[in-house]
């Protein structure tokens, strides 16, 4: 207890400096072990096991039985550290594991995720975070329920939150399962449960406080793990110490290689894997600009409505600190996101450029099949090399890969020592675990605070509330792992859906709750209900093969849902009575950064 209370906050800089130093020493130790001949498998296991043990230790040290500590980490998290925690909370398995792979195969169209997942923070900062912090809520439905009044509004918000976050969390548990399975050499179905165990160890005893301090630790691991291989590759390829500003030449040479090798579809497709058919730089197709922008808008509005992100800003001491921590969050996220396109570019060049020893395209098939990394990843069905035109040479359209593995396989492709692969696996694990923690907590808190305490049993005492919260955490985690073990969608599809669900149901009710004093309960109910239902119906419609409106596919259903939500909310609000004097005063108080919060501590 003493370690985490005031004393810990005072020493926080020193604690995390020692932690970072310790982690670097651990990496060096692993490198030495590798040189001494310890097997790659053992190093992979040590990396994943050691980091998870550290997170679990932090989780245990942060245990608490106080409501404020459990729901909002006692509202004493300094802005910079909240920024790091948010960055880890934010950057999921999709960002860490799948994003660079998506850019590798998807080019311009895919980069909409990069723009969307950063630009969203401008909306968070200007429209949401400072005001929600002032409000003093524990959860996002807490704001909706108090601002608009009534259990029905609160309940609608809980439903949207649960659907959006649950869609997202299964993807994260799936990612932890994939990484655990590969690093620990256990079957995927066990990997999923192992991952869940790690996630629960971080969050169950200490709620938001435990999640905050583990997420800071996880951010440090994941950012080191992401940057090291890219910087290493860049130095091997001669793009300098910091490749980010100098890989323009690499991007230009890829365009030249694309012409040389030809971007052709494969003669025969391999299920679940992709070949490179999209050009690296330029937009493709008539609607390219429109598609980019609609996807980016869905991701940005989704960012500003996803409860696991918004609730991170409830943990800062002041409104000003909440704003400051949004800025830090984006800076920390930016470090990874502007590296992802560099990684995709440099990895692609490793494979295409015949001047580099790692190139495989244009080489004899037999030579390529003899490479250790090709064999490793082929054996788990993540990669395939097939001489479909039978000329004995590997063509660009004969190299199949699952996009998800680009980041994980990059160290091996570039011929880096195995210690780097172990590091990347630990980073991917940290990214997926930290996001899963935030999401599970968002769901369990909404159900325990808003559904159980505020709606079902308002007389429940503190101990009961916190026990209910923990039991729900375990149940939801188990449900998530169960769904994840069914492997229904790829990592990325599910993530984009979560953003669209949140944007459809919550974006306008939240924004207008702060920015439009006239917004009232019937309007908010219509906005949440109609937005969410219309979005969901449209998703079902296009996913089952219905005609798309204006090229909006299942990744962009948020545009349809949000439009319906805005129209419904404005029309219904204007048709019904303005909110009462008290509510209007509440909105006024929300807009002023000082003074007592609307909802008192322990509410």
């Amino acid at each position: 207890m003493a370690l985490i209370q005031g004393k810990f906050i005072d020493n926080i800089g020193r604690v995390y400096t020692i932690y970072t130093g310790g982690f670097i020493v651990f990496i060096l130790l692993m490198a030495i072990l590798e040189q001494m001949g310890v097997s790659a498998n053992t190093i992979g296991i040590l990396f994943v096991a050691f980091t998870i043990a550290i997170y679990a230790l932090i989780g245990w040290l942060s245990r608490t039985m106080e409501v404020d500590a459990y729901y909002v980490a006692g509202r004493q998290v300094p802005a910079v550290y909240n920024g790091m925690a948010t960055a880890a909370d934010w950057m999921s398995g999709a960002s860490f594991v799948a994003m660079a792979g998506g850019i590798y195969f998807g080019g311009y169209g895919y980069i909409a995720f990069v723009v969307g997942w950063t630009g969203g923070y401008v909306l968070v900062n200007s429209l949401m975070a400072p005001y929600l912090r002032k409000f003093g809520c524990y959860t996002v439905p807490d704001f909706v329920g108090t601002r608009y009044g009534g259990n029905l509004a609160r309940f609608f918000a809980v439903v949207v939150l649960v659907v959006a976050s649950f869609t997202y969390v299964t993807a994260q548990i799936n990612a932890t399962g994939t990484i655990a399975a590969r690093a620990l050499h256990i079957p995927f179905s066990y990997g999923v449960w192992f991952g869940l165990l790690g996630i629960l160890l971080c969050s169950m005893l200490g709620g938001m406080r435990a999640v905050t301090w583990t997420q800071v630790a996880q951010y440090i691991v994941l950012i080191v793990a992401y940057l090291v291989p890219v910087i290493w590759m860049s130095n091997v390829q001669g793009f300098g110490l910091i490749p980010h500003f100098s890989y323009g030449g690499a991007a230009q040479s890829i365009v030249a290689f694309e012409t040389q090798y030809g971007l052709n579809p494969p003669l025969e497709a391999v299920a679940g894997m992709s070949v490179l058919t999209t050009t690296h730089l330029a937009p493709v197709g008539d609607l390219a600009g429109w598609k980019f922008v609609t996807l980016a808008i869905c991701m940005m509005t989704g960012t500003a409505s996803l409860p696991h992100i918004l609730m991170r800003y409830f943990t800062t001491p002041t409104v000003r600190a909440a704003r400051k921590s949004v800025a830090w969050s984006l800076l920390f996220i930016f470090l990874l996101y502007f590296t992802a396109p560099a990684l995709a570019t440099l990895t692609k060049l490793q494979l295409l450029d015949p001047d580099l020893p790692t190139a495989i395209i244009g080489k004899p098939i037999e030579e390529v099949l003899a490479l250790a990394w090709v064999q490793n990843w082929s054996s788990v069905n993540m990669l395939a090399v097939v001489d479909q035109n039978a000329d004995g040479i590997l063509q660009l359209n004969e190299f199949f890969m699952r996009p998800d593995i680009v980041v994980l396989a990059t160290p091996e492709i570039a011929g880096l020592p195995y210690v780097i692969s172990g590091l990347v696996a630990a980073g991917g694990m940290a990214a997926a675990m930290s996001t899963a923690d935030g999401l599970l907590l968002a769901i369990a808190n909404a159900l325990s605070h808003d559904l159980y305490y505020k709606i079902i049993d308002p007389k429940a005492d503190t101990a009961t509330r916190l026990i209910v919260a923990r039991v729900l955490l375990i149940i939801i985690g188990a449900l998530g792992a169960l769904v994840a073990s069914l492997q229904l969608t790829g990592i990325l599809g599910a993530v984009a859906w979560a953003f669209c669900f949140a944007a459809s149901g919550l974006f306008f009710p939240l924004v207008l709750g702060i920015w439009w004093k006239r917004a009232n309960r019937p309007g908010a109910l219509a906005g949440m209900g109609i937005g969410f239902v219309v979005g969901t119906i449209y998703l079902w419609w296009v996913y089952t093969g219905g005609t798309q409106i204006l090229g909006l596919d299942h990744l962009r259903f948020g545009i349809v849902g949000m439009t319906a939500s805005l129209v419904a909310m404005v029309v219904v609000t204007l048709m019904t009575e303005a909110p009462d004097e008290e509510t209007q005063k509440m909105v006024d108080a929300t807009r002023v950064p000082v003074g007592p919060p609307i909802l008192a501590s322990g509410h």
Binding site: I111, G119, L123, S126, G248, F292, R320, P341, P593
Partner: protein
């Protein structure tokens, strides 16, 4: 917030709102307009990158980071001007 302060609060809110609108306009330029025309911008070159590509993988991202720091700097000085900073 007491009643006699409501006029101050209104002026504060007007300033905050103008700043927010400015931020959202700048945001729209970097998040929507530039990416939409990235193909056309690719005919120009910047730091060895085609400009449109550079903007979506880096330029707009840098703009977002700067934009939030800019907004917070301006908002802090609005808060100070109205004396809404006693918490710090």
């Amino acid at each position: 917030m007491s009643v006699e302060n409501s006029e101050t609060a209104d002026r504060y809110w007007a300033k905050t709102r103008s700043l927010t609108i400015l931020v959202l306009v700048l945001w729209a330029i970097f998040a929507i307009i530039i990416p939409w025309f990235a193909g056309a911008l690719n005919s120009y070159s910047f730091l060895g990158f085609p400009l449109g590509y550079y903007m979506i993988v880096q330029g707009s991202l840098i703009a977002f980071v700067l934009l939030i720091f800019f907004q917070n700097w301006r908002q802090d000085s609005i808060d100070d001007e109205f004396g809404y900073n006693e918490e710090e």
